[in-house]
C-alpha cells in the first residue's frame, strides 16, 4: 500500500519537478576562497565571515551599498542634532529575527552595549568608542549620544561588526547565526559550504533567490574547474588572475574586474633610520616601478599614489608624484648621505600578492643600491612583530578596511608617521558633516601622504568577479567586505 502511495505521490509531483526548468532559476552557489572560522561578524576580523552573512543574514541600523554609500537598513530614518552629537534612529516596523522574536529598540541597545562592554571581543570596538550613551526612547526609537561629533558614524554603523543581534540568540551566533536579513542560516558543512534559505517573514522586498550556497574552494585550479563545470555559479573574487583570459573568451561567463578596498603598500618604518629621512623615502618611491609589480599580479590591479581607494568619489590621482626614475632615486640617496645605498629587511606576510610584490621590490631597490633581505613571516608573526611591535624596516601589506586613511593619524601606528598637518586635516574631517567639504579634506589628506612619501603606494587589489552570464545583481567592487545577494537574480 505504501508503495502505491509513493508511486502516486511521485506521479503527482512530476509536473512540479519539471516546472523549475521553465521558471527562472532561484538558487545560487557562490564560490569563495577562504572559509569563515565561524559565522558571528561581531566576534572576528575574518573577512570571510562578513562575506557570507553581511546583508544576507545580518543587518545593521545602516548598510553600505554597492557604490559605498550609506543606506537606511533597520533604521528607516534618523535625525542628527545641529552639533552632530545626538543621533535619533527611527526603527522599521514589523521586523522579526529568524527565530521569530520581534526586533525592537531594546535589541539595538543590547547589541551596542554588548560590543562596548568590558569583556567585548568585537574586532572593531572603536566604532563604538565615540558613543556615550544608547537609550531606547520607545520600542521604535533609539537615541545615541556621542562624546564628540563623528563624521563617519553612520558609515561605521554599516560595518559587519555593528550588526544587530538578539539577546536570545547572540551567544550561539558563531555556529547558528540568527539575524534579521532576507536569508536564514540553513546549515554549515565544515570545510565545504554554508547554506542559506530565503526568510519568508523578511520586512523588506523578498530576494529573488530562494536558496544560496557559499562554497569554499581554496585552490585556484579547482575553483576554475568548478566554474567551468557549472558546480558553482559565481566566484566573487577568483584567486587565479592567470586564468581570467580563459573566462573572458567564454560567452557563458561574465568577468567583472573591480577593485577592493585593499590598498597594497610598501610600508616603511618612518620612525627608524634611514626611513625617517624624507629623501630616502622619496628615493624608494622613485625606485619602485608599479607597472612591473602589477604585472606580476597579471595586470589587474589599479595603481595608486596615496592611501585611498580609486573608486571613492574623493579620490585624487597622485601616481605621478614620484614617477619611476632610477637616476633620480640614486641622486636623492646621495643627497641623503646614502651614496653607497644601505641594507634593510622586508618582512612579507603569507598572501601571494605580498610575496610576489616583495620579490620584485627586492630587485627594484637593488638597482638603486639598496640591499633588501626578504624575511617571510606568518600572519601571527606579522601581527606581533610588525603591526604591534613596529619591529621592521619595510613590509608589503594590503590595508583592506574601507576608508582607513585615518590610520596615518594614529599615534602609535606601526608606520611611525607623525605629521601635525595631517593630524589637523583628519581632526577637521572627523567633525565635518558637509559632504563637499569632507571630500576636499580627504583630497588634502591624500596629497600630504603622497608628498611625504610615507609608504610606497603600489596598487589597489583587484576584485576578479567571474559568474554565469545569466546572473545579475552581484557587486563589481567591494566597498565593504560583503557578498550582498539581495539583488541577485537569474535573467529569464
Amino acid at each position: 500500500m505504501t508503495l502505491i502511495f509513493r508511486i502516486a505521490a511521485i506521479l503527482a509531483a512530476l509536473p512540479f519537478l519539471a516546472a523549475p526548468a521553465l521558471a527562472a532559476k532561484d538558487t545560487l552557489t557562490m564560490g569563495m576562497t577562504l572559509e569563515p572560522p565561524h559565522l558571528d561578524p561581531t566576534a572576528t576580523a575574518a573577512a570571510a565571515t562578513d562575506e557570507v552573512v553581511y546583508a544576507n543574514v545580518f543587518e545593521g541600523l545602516t548598510r553600505i551599498d554597492a557604490a559605498g554609500a550609506v543606506q537606511p537598513a533597520l533604521a528607516a530614518s534618523w535625525d542628527v542634532t545641529e552639533d552632530g552629537t545626538v543621533y535619533t534612529f527611527h526603527l522599521r516596523e514589523g521586523v522579526s529575527f529568524h527565530d521569530g522574536t520581534q526586533f525592537d529598540a531594546e535589541d539595538v541597545v543590547f547589541s551596542f552595549e554588548r560590543a562596548m562592554a568590558e569583556g567585548s571581543v568585537n574586532a572593531q570596538k572603536q566604532i563604538f568608542e565615540p558613543i556615550e550613551a544608547v537609550e531606547a526612547l520607545d520600542p521604535r526609537t533609539v537615541k545615541v549620544t556621542l562624546r564628540r561629533p563623528t563624521g563617519s558614524f553612520l558609515f561605521d554603523l554599516g560595518w559587519g561588526d555593528a550588526v544587530i543581534v538578539a539577546p536570545e540568540s547572540a551567544d550561539a551566533n558563531r555556529s547558528a547565526p540568527v539575524g534579521t536579513g532576507p536569508f536564514r542560516f540553513e546549515r554549515r558543512v565544515a570545510g565545504d559550504r554554508v547554506e542559506l534559505t530565503r526568510f519568508e517573514d523578511y520586512w523588506g522586498e523578498a530576494p529573488a533567490l530562494a536558496r544560496a550556497t557559499f562554497k569554499f574552494i581554496p585552490d585556484s585550479a579547482a575553483a576554475a574547474a568548478a566554474l567551468l563545470a557549472g558546480d558553482i555559479d559565481a566566484f566573487a573574487n577568483l584567486p587565479a588572475p592567470e586564468l581570467v583570459p580563459q573566462f573572458e573568451a567564454d560567452p557563458r561567463f561574465t568577468v567583472e574586474i573591480g577593485v577592493t578596498e585593499g590598498e597594497t603598500i610598501l610600508a616603511m618604518n618612518n620612525a627608524r633610520e634611514p626611513f625617517s629621512n624624507l629623501k630616502v623615502r622619496q628615493a624608494i618611491s622613485h625606485a619602485l616601478n608599479r607597472d612591473a609589480i602589477i604585472q606580476a599580479d597579471f595586470d589587474y590591479g589599479t595603481p595608486i599614489g596615496s592611501h585611498f581607494s580609486p573608486v571613492h568619489p574623493a579620490y585624487v590621482d597622485l601616481t605621478g608624484t614620484y614617477p619611476h626614475d632610477v637616476e633620480k632615486a640614486k641622486a636623492l640617496l646621495r643627497e641623503a648621505g646614502y651614496a653607497e645605498g644601505f641594507e634593510a629587511t622586508l618582512k612579507l606576510p603569507p598572501p601571494n600578492y605580498a610575496r610576489r610584490a616583495g620579490e620584485i621590490i627586492q630587485q627594484q631597490l637593488a638597482q638603486v643600491g639598496i640591499t633588501v633581505e626578504i624575511v617571510p613571516v606568518e600572519w601571527a608573526q606579522w601581527l606581533e612583530q610588525v603591526f604591534k611591535g613596529a619591529d621592521y624596516d619595510m613590509t608589503v601589506i594590503a590595508h583592506t578596511e574601507p576608508m582607513d586613511i585615518g590610520i596615518y593619524a594614529r599615534d602609535d601606528y606601526y608606520f611611525g608617521y607623525d605629521s601635525a598637518e595631517f593630524d589637523g586635516v583628519m581632526e577637521e574631517l572627523s567633525a565635518e558633516a558637509d559632504e563637499g567639504r569632507r571630500h576636499e579634506l580627504m583630497a588634502e589628506a591624500q596629497r600630504i601622504l603622497a608628498e611625504d612619501a610615507v609608504n610606497g603606494f603600489l596598487y589597489q587589489l583587484p576584485k576578479i568577479g567571474v559568474w554565469n552570464a545569466a546572473v545579475e545583481g552581484l557587486w563589481r567592487n567591494t566597498p565593504i567586505q560583503a557578498n550582498d545577494l539581495t539583488e541577485v537574480r537569474w535573467r529569464e
Binding site: S220, A240, E242, A292, P350, Q363, V375, P376, E378, Q381
Partner: protein
C-alpha cells in the same frame, strides 16, 4: 644451478647501477660547480617583458612568472640542495655516530636511553618538526638544515649501534680490551673503521633523502627564501601556474628526481661494492 649465474648477473647489474649513479652524481656536482662561475642568464634577474615563456632557443627551459631564466635558476638551485643536504647529513653523522657508538660500547642504561630517545624522535614526522622549528625560528635554509639534521641524528645513531654491536663481539676487540684499552679508544680505533662502509652507504642514502626533504620544505615555503633559487621553491611558485605554464612544474621536479636517482644508484652500488653481505638488505 643457476643461482650463481643469477647473482653474477645481478652483480653486474648492480655495478652498472654504480657506474650510472656515479655518472649522474658527477654531472650534478659538475653543474653545481659550473653554476658557481657561469649560468646562461643571471638567475635572479627579472625581466617582466619575457615572463611565462615556454622553452625556446633563447631560454631552453623557458622563463618564470618574473621572466627569470628557468635553466639558470635550476643550475644555481643546485647549490642550495648541496649545501642543505651536506650540512644536515653532517649534523646527523656528527651527533648520531658518537651516540650510537656510545650505546653500543656501554649497553645498559645509556643504550636504553639513547634508543628510547631515537624512538621518541621518530614519533614526530619530520615535516611536523620542521613546521614547528620554522614557526619558532622563522623560515630559511638554516632552519631546513636543522630540521633535516635533527631527523638524521637517530638514523645514524641506530645504524651505528646496529653495525657496532657485532664488531664488539669479535676476537680482536676482546684482545684489545684484554690489553687494557678503554672503551672510547676501542670504539674510535677499532670499531669505527670496521663500520665505515655501512656509514658511507647510509650517508649517501641520507644525502638523497635530505635533498628530497629540502625540496619538500621549500615547496611548503619553509625552506630557502628569495632571491636564492631553490628547486622546491620553484615548484611552490609553479603551483598556481600549473594550467598556464606547465614547464615551470616539470623541469625543477626533473632536476630533483635525477639528482636523487643518481645518489640512490650510487649508494646501492657502493653498498654492493663495499659490503657484499648487505646486498640483499634494505634500509
Amino acid at each position: 644451478m643457476s643461482t650463481d649465474a643469477a647473482a653474477a648477473g645481478a652483480g653486474s647489474g648492480a655495478s652498472a647501477g654504480l657506474v650510472i649513479g656515479l655518472a649522474m652524481t658527477a654531472t650534478f656536482l659538475a653543474v653545481a660547480l659550473v653554476a658557481l662561475a657561469w649560468t646562461p642568464y643571471d638567475p635572479v634577474a627579472m625581466n617582466m617583458a619575457d615572463r611565462l615563456q615556454g622553452p625556446s632557443r633563447a631560454h631552453w627551459l623557458g622563463t618564470d612568472l618574473y621572466g627569470r631564466d628557468v635553466l639558470s635558476m635550476i643550475m644555481a638551485g643546485s647549490h642550495n640542495s648541496v649545501l642543505v643536504a651536506l650540512v644536515a647529513v653532517g649534523i646527523g653523522i656528527g651527533i648520531g655516530v658518537p651516540l650510537g657508538s656510545m650505546a653500543a660500547a656501554t649497553r645498559g642504561l645509556a643504550d636504553e636511553a639513547i634508543m628510547r630517545f631515537a624512538d621518541f624522535t621518530f614519533a614526530f614526522p619530520f615535516i611536523l618538526s620542521a613546521v614547528m622549528i620554522t614557526a619558532l625560528l622563522g623560515p630559511g635554509s638554516v632552519n631546513a638544515i636543522i630540521a633535516i639534521g635533527i631527523f638524521n641524528i637517530p638514523v645514524f645513531a641506530r645504524v651505528t649501534r646496529g653495525a657496532s654491536l657485532p664488531v664488539w663481539r669479535r676476537d680482536f676487540i676482546l684482545a684489545a680490551r684484554a690489553a687494557g684499552k678503554g672503551r672510547a679508544r676501542i670504539a674510535v680505533e677499532h670499531v669505527l673503521p670496521n663500520i665505515a662502509a655501512v656509514l658511507i652507504v647510509q650517508a649517501t642514502i641520507q644525502f638523497a633523502l635530505a635533498i628530497l626533504g629540502e625540496a619538500a620544505l621549500s615547496y611548503l615555503g619553509l625552506g630557502a627564501q628569495p632571491p636564492a633559487p631553490s628547486w622546491g621553491k620553484m615548484l611552490n611558485e609553479a603551483q598556481t601556474l600549473v594550467a598556464v605554464a606547465p614547464h615551470l612544474v616539470v623541469f625543477p621536479g626533473l632536476a630533483i628526481v635525477l639528482t636523487v636517482l643518481g645518489l640512490n644508484l650510487l649508494g646501492d652500488g657502493l653498498r654492493d661494492l663495499l659490503d657484499p653481505r648487505l646486498r640483499t638488505r634494505v634500509g
